[in-house]
Every structure is written in structure tokens, then in C-alpha cells.
């Protein structure tokens, strides 16, 4: 807006600041709690000034977990989560980019039927098909393995659809020029489509990495050994059972740790794909 209306400006700022506070406050509480001692954190009300236990709490969860809940160290969980998130993101992109390539650039019988088959699975989130998927994974001996964590999540109708839509915007003449230049389908894919998809891949990677990292229900089912826990599961397992009270300071420290990698991916990749969005290459 270019009008000069001080009251409107003030109101707009007030609403925006309120919004930021609403979003940021829980994060702040999480951070503060992760820097307190056990005694401080179970006090009501909990102090809102950061304490002095920052390094102690984080070192403790990273190496040996909590005392009253799960004793598993968080560092291996972070690595498990990272492996899973990378596996899911890269796997989904790899599979969907070639599926979209096949659907857009090849004429084969039942092409539309297959596209719709893929499209229809958009309607079936993991939770809906989780029991049969678990049965299949268990029968294949995938429990407590990275393959079990990653494989069932690796097909992506959404990503296939996005790549398909992107390919449809690439002029046909580009494929024809490549044909006349002597490039076969794979060569065209590798030399032309893949470089043009760079920005889409970057954007999808961010989304899919976070999706993989935040998986809760599936890792909860497929893993029973502590060594295969992902960090999101780890948080849940730290809740003490029975009469014992939960060590919220340690749980919050784990939560902070679980929060960092996705945030980092967003911050690091953001520049990359905003740049890509501005410089359209078509």
C-alpha cells in the first residue's frame, strides 16, 4: 500500500507481531525448558528466563538419553532420522521424475490409465494403507531396517504429478530438436530434462526431506529396537511411564535437536530455489 495512514500501519504491525508471538512463543518455551534443571522445569509456573543447563542437557540426551524414560542416546536417532529423510526425499524424487518422464514423453498402451492409477493414489495417505503395508513389510523381513523405514514411503503421486505438469510446460520442439540432434530418450532426459528440472528438484527436496523427517506413525510401527528409532519416536519414548514424572528439560532438548535439521534444510535451500524461481529457464 502506498497510502499514508498511520493508524492502519500500526494496526497491521500489531496483528503481524501478534501472529509472530503466537507462533514463536511455544518455540521459546521449548528452548527455555531445554536449558533448565529437572527441578526448575517441573515447577509451576516454569521460569521463562533461560537457565544454565544448556550444554549439560544437550550433551546428556545426545549421549545417553533420559533417566526416567527411554535410555537411548539421541545422536544415533538423529542419524537414523537423517538417513530416513534423505532416503525418502531422494528416492521419491528419483522415482517420480522418471515416472513423469515416461508418462509425458512416451506413447504406450494404457498410458492414461497408468497416469490415473498414480493420480488416484494421491487420495490414499500412508495412514489409510498402513496396516496392509505393515503386513507386507513384515513378511519381507523389513522390520527394524532402513529399507523398512524408507521403501514403503518412496512412491510419490504428488511429486510425479508435479514433474508431469512441469514437463508439459516444456515446448515439444525441444524434444524434437533433441531427436534431430540425435539424442535418444535417455540422453534427452539426462542432458535436457534433468538440468531444466533443477529448481523443481530443489523445491521438492525441501518439502520431501521435511516430510520424511517428520514421519511418526510409520517408524513407530516398523521399529521396535532402540538402535532404529528416529528422533521423533525418541521424543515420544522419553515420556516416562507409570508414576515417574517426565524429564521435560531433556524432552525439550531432544525436541530442539529434532527441529534443527529441517529448519536448516529450509534456510540453506531457500536461497537456491527462490533464485531458481526467479530465473525461469524455458
Amino acid at each position: 500500500m502506498v497510502e499514508n495512514r498511520p493508524w492502519a500501519d500500526l494496526l497491521a504491525h500489531a496483528i503481524l507481531i501478534l501472529g509472530v508471538v503466537v507462533v514463536a512463543f511455544p518455540l521459546y518455551v521449548t528452548f527455555v525448558a531445554s536449558t533448565l534443571t529437572y527441578d526448575q522445569v517441573i515447577n509451576v509456573p516454569m521460569p521463562l528466563i533461560p537457565g544454565d543447563q544448556l550444554f549439560e542437557n544437550y550433551a546428556k540426551v545426545l549421549s545417553s538419553g533420559s533417566e526416567k524414560g527411554s535410555h537411548a542416546a539421541v545422536l544415533p536417532m538423529l542419524l537414523n532420522s537423517f538417513t530416513m529423510a534423505m532416503g525418502v526425499a531422494i528416492g521419491k524424487i528419483a522415482i517420480s521424475i522418471v515416472s513423469a518422464f515416461a508418462i509425458v514423453y512416451f506413447r504406450f498402451p494404457l498410458r492414461n490409465f497408468f497416469f490415473w492409477m498414480i493420480f488416484v493414489t494421491l487420495m490414499l495417505p500412508i495412514e489409510v494403507r498402513i496396516i496392509p503395508t505393515f503386513k507386507v513389510a513384515a513378511d519381507l523381513g523389513l522390520l527394524n531396517s532402513y529399507a523398512g523405514l524408507i521403501l514403503p514411503l518412496i512412491a510419490s503421486a504428488t511429486a510425479t504429478f508435479l514433474f508431469r505438469q512441469f514437463y508439459l510446460t516444456i515446448p515439444d520442439e525441444l524434444a524434437e530438436a533433441a531427436r534431430i540432434d540425435g539424442a535418444g530418450p535417455l540422453r534427452f532426459f539426462w542432458d535436457v530434462l534433468l538440468p531444466l528440472s533443477k529448481t523443481n528438484i530443489a523445491a521438492l527436496f525441501v518439502i520431501l526431506f521435511i516430510l520424511g523427517w517428520n514421519q511418526y506413525l510409520w517408524p513407530l510401527l516398523i521399529t521396535s529396537e532402540e538402535s532404529m528409532y528416529t528422533v521423533v519416536i525418541g521424543i515420544k519414548r522419553m515420556f516416562a511411564g507409570g508414576d515417574a514424572t517426565t524429564e521435560w528439560n531433556l524432552v525439550m532438548a531432544t525436541a530442539m535437536l529434532a527441529l534443527l535439521p529441517p529448519a536448516l534444510v529450509v534456510v540453506l535451500m531457500q536461497k537456491w530455489f527462490v533464485k531458481g524461481l526467479v530465473e525461469t529457464e524455458k
Partner: protein
């Protein structure tokens, strides 16, 4: 370098949808052929069939003596320039031009030499490291041509390569293509809907209409001696004037009340309904030919000449006058058709009336 032969080439998508109804033409080695026609006449389809991007329903296409109906585009030894250039956006000019050569695994030194030679011809030397988006439309067009040149193909295929350029650049690129063809003397097929491009570039042109090659010939022959009403109306700007007439003995009685004598050799073949055509530039101030009187309705002063429009019969008559004409709107003008520059067409089929062969 190669001769390209089309033998009764047809294309249909279904039984009903037929887009090319059998085109036969022999294109000599080194010839520059322009396929011209209105949009939807099948000219681009025909070119894409020669390129191998569309299948051939019936007939035969051969390049350099080899039937290529079932040959992949890359093995036809042709290069194509597209209307929207179709440059690879993520590659530099150098990479764009050398891509086909790299795929064919030429020696790097050879590739560099060919690209640099083409870049020199096209004055692209300083842009080799740029991406297509950093170039102007004309430069992109030159890169697209460069990509074709470096391949040293048997034939160049141009698919309306100039239609995305502005008017001034179009004229300039037209001259460059002409120069290029003189220099390389590679068989070229050029598709356009612009009759000026066709007239200026072509050694011979193919005028297409609704999937049929209406006439094949040198531009000046097509202009002087059109085979049909369609060709006569399509080639020449402004278009030829057409006046419908009825036979009255050895004359044709035109809708505007003028009688035109039917040439003796056509008397035997002329049907009842005849269409008479006369080009605007063949309506002159004085002469012995039939006179057309009309009231000036509009004057288009183009500088070098002026186009005068006026109602005549059921339609409009256009005459080309000298640039500084004194004719004003409302004046009555009398122009004479140059004898021998009147064209007679069959009113029903649109075919040109030709003397019966003895």
C-alpha cells in the same frame, strides 16, 4: 547435399481427418524450396514428415536416393530450424551448437572448428559463452541456424523461422538466410505463411491449400501464371481483384456491367460461370483494355505507390496508382485492364481456364 523426392505423400490421422492429400515434388540438390500457404493448409505437417517427426500415412519420401519413410530423424541427415528456436535453455550458445556433434562423437578439435566457423559466418563469435536467454530474438534465431549449419546436413528444414521476429529483423534475417544459402548451397525447405518471404527466398515455391499442392513453380511464374483462383488470390499483395461473370457469347458479362472479351483460345473451354481476375498493378490509366469505372472509397498512400479502393459490382476493386496520386475519396476513377493481364477461372472449380490441348 541431396535431392529430396516426395512421391504422392499423404497424411491422415483417421479415415475422416486427412491433412495431406498426396503431394508429389522433386527438389533438386541445392535448391531453395519454399512451402507457402495459409495456416492449417498442412505445410508444417509436410515439413515435419520430411524431418521424420510425423509418420507418413501413404506415399514415399526419399532423401539422397534413399527412402526414409521408416528412418529416424537423426539418421535422415537433416537439420531443422524451429519457429520458437527450440534452443536448450540451460546450455550456452557453444553447447547448443555443438550438442548434435557431441552426440555423434566427433573429435573435440573438429567440433570446435565447425562451431567457430559457423559462429563466424553468423557473427555469433562473441556470444558463444552466453545462455539463450541473454540473447535477442534475432541472435537466438542465428544460434538455431548455427546449430543446423554445424551438422553439415543434406538438407535444412525451416519451420516458419522468421515469424517470431519483428518486421525489420525479419527482413534482415531473410537476407541473411539468402546469403547463407548462396554460400552453402545446401538443399533447403522453408515453410512460411508470408508470401513476401516466399517470393524473395524461393528458387521454386509450393503453394499449398487444404493439404493439396496447388502449384509448384518459380515465384515469378506462379505470380504471372497462377494455376487456380486460390493461388492467384494468395500470391501478390494486395490480392488480385476477382469479378464474377457470365458468358455472353464470346464475351464475359461482369457483375459490374463491364464486358470483357474472352480470348479466342479459351472460347472452347469456358463454362457458363467464369471468374475474371486482374491484379491491382495491371489497372492502368490509359489503354485499350476493358475500362473499369468506380468511385474512390479509400486511398492508402504507401509512399512509393497508392492503393485505391472502390466498390465495383458486388465487391471491391483495388487499383495500384503512382505514389503522389491526385485521386481523392469520392472521385470517379477509370482504369483500364492491360490486355493479356486478365485471368479467367472456372467459376465453379476455381481452376484457371487453359486452352484445350490439341
Amino acid at each position: 547435399m541431396a535431392e529430396i523426392v516426395l512421391r504422392d505423400v499423404q497424411k491422415s490421422y483417421t479415415q475422416e481427418v486427412r491433412v495431406i492429400h498426396g503431394v508429389s515434388v522433386t527438389i533438386a540438390d541445392g535448391e531453395f524450396i519454399v512451402i507457402v500457404g495459409p495456416s492449417g493448409c498442412g505445410k508444417s505437417t509436410l515439413l515435419r514428415m520430411i524431418a521424420g517427426l510425423e509418420t507418413i500415412t501413404a506415399g514415399e519420401i526419399s532423401i539422397a536416393g534413399r527412402v526414409v519413410n521408416e528412418v529416424e530423424p537423426k539418421d535422415r541427415n537433416i537439420a531443422m530450424v524451429f519457429q520458437n528456436y527450440a534452443l536448450y535453455p540451460h546450455m550456452t550458445v557453444y553447447e547448443n551448437m555443438s550438442y548434435g556433434l557431441r552426440i555423434r562423437r566427433l573429435a573435440p578439435a573438429e567440433i570446435r572448428e565447425r562451431v567457430e566457423r559457423a559462429a563466424k559466418i553468423l557473427e555469433l563469435g562473441q556470444f558463444l559463452e552466453r545462455k539463450p536467454r541473454e540473447l535477442s530474438g534475432g541472435q537466438r534465431q542465428r544460434v538455431a541456424m548455427g546449430r543446423a549449419i554445424v551438422r553439415e546436413p543434406a538438407a535444412f528444414l525451416f519451420d516458419e523461422p522468421l515469424s517470431n521476429l519483428d518486421a525489420k529483423l525479419r527482413v534482415q534475417m531473410r537476407l541473411e538466410i539468402q546469403k547463407l544459402h548462396r554460400r552453402l548451397a545446401t538443399t533447403s525447405i522453408f515453410v512460411t505463411h508470408d508470401q513476401v518471404e516466399a517470393m524473395t527466398l524461393a528458387d521454386r515455391m509450393i503453394v499449398m491449400n487444404a493439404g493439396v499442392a496447388e502449384q509448384v513453380g518459380r515465384p515469378i511464374d506462379v505470380y504471372d501464371d497462377p494455376a487456380s483462383l486460390f493461388v492467384a488470390g494468395f500470391i501478390g499483395s494486395p490480392a488480385m481483384n476477382f469479378l464474377s461473370g457470365k458468358r455472353a457469347g464470346d464475351d464475359i458479362e461482369l457483375a459490374g456491367g463491364v464486358r470483357v472479351a474472352l480470348p479466342a483460345e479459351l472460347r472452347a473451354v469456358a463454362p457458363e460461370a467464369v471468374m475474371v481476375g486482374v491484379r491491382p498493378e495491371h489497372l492502368v490509366a490509359q489503354g485499350t483494355g476493358p475500362a473499369f469505372r468506380f468511385t474512390v472509397e479509400m486511398v492508402e498512400a504507401l509512399g512509393a505507390d497508392a492503393l485505391v479502393h472502390g466498390p465495383f459490382g458486388a465487391g471491391t476493386l483495388i487499383a495500384r496508382l503512382e505514389g503522389h496520386t491526385s485521386a481523392r475519396v469520392g472521385d470517379t476513377l477509370e482504369r483500364h485492364a492491360i490486355p493479356g493481364r486478365l485471368y479467367f477461372f472456372d467459376g465453379a472449380s476455381g481452376r484457371r481456364l487453359r486452352p484445350a490441348r490439341p
